[in-house]
Amino acid sequence: MQVPILKQGDFLIASIQAALTDADLRQLQDDLVHRVSIYRSLGVIVDVTALDVLDSFACRTLSGIAQMTRLRGAKTVVVGIQPDVAFTLVQMGLRLEGVATTLDLEEGLALFNRPTN
């Protein structure tokens, strides 16, 4: 299932709607890195509110997205990690290395719209 990516001014918003396979996640990574270049985006928001599981592969891919887009000059923020998912990540010892997070989409947009950014 492909993840829709919306262009909103200088930012891209990837809104994950349903459970993703590893191939879907890889596709999302490729799409985002590609589009950051096309649209000269300054920021990427990945909304994971709909995900009930973030396993080690998903974490690695999200970190990869953040690092690759950063090298292209865009900041990535992951929004909407569910409380149960956060609990499980900590128990697993999984860290979203180098990834900014906010509570929800609204906070994510606010982060990008602050004057310092």
Binding site: T21, D22, V53, L54, S56, D84, T88, Q91, M92
Partner: protein, 138 residues
Amino acid sequence: MAAEARHLETSVPILADIDIVTARQQGRALAERVGFIGSDLTVIATVISELGRNMLTYAEKGVIRLRPHYFGGRRGIMVVAEDEGPGIVDVELALQDAYSTSKSLGLGLPGTRRLMDEFDIVSVLGKGTKVTVTKWVS
């Protein structure tokens, strides 16, 4: 209860990454029927995901069996992940944090062990690997 347990038992062949999604969704549904709530459901689904991915990465395929587990007045779920892959050379090493022979984070197996109440792994070189984990309703 034993009859119900057999009835609810399912087996998911893991041949492609979409099967991992199927297995964790079925595992979550079974865990709910057994009586798990909240973060335990996420924990169980995540563990199934890690075990499924290990199979695809190292053994190319395998089977995940999900069964309700009733023992000593306790209710739980048992997840058995079995493959006929190459086996693990050093199981102790594979259970250490951040150790991986692929490019993964190396947290799948050690994380799984931390998250579940019971953890057992049997791996025979050239024959395969069987991981059995149980979580009890608290």
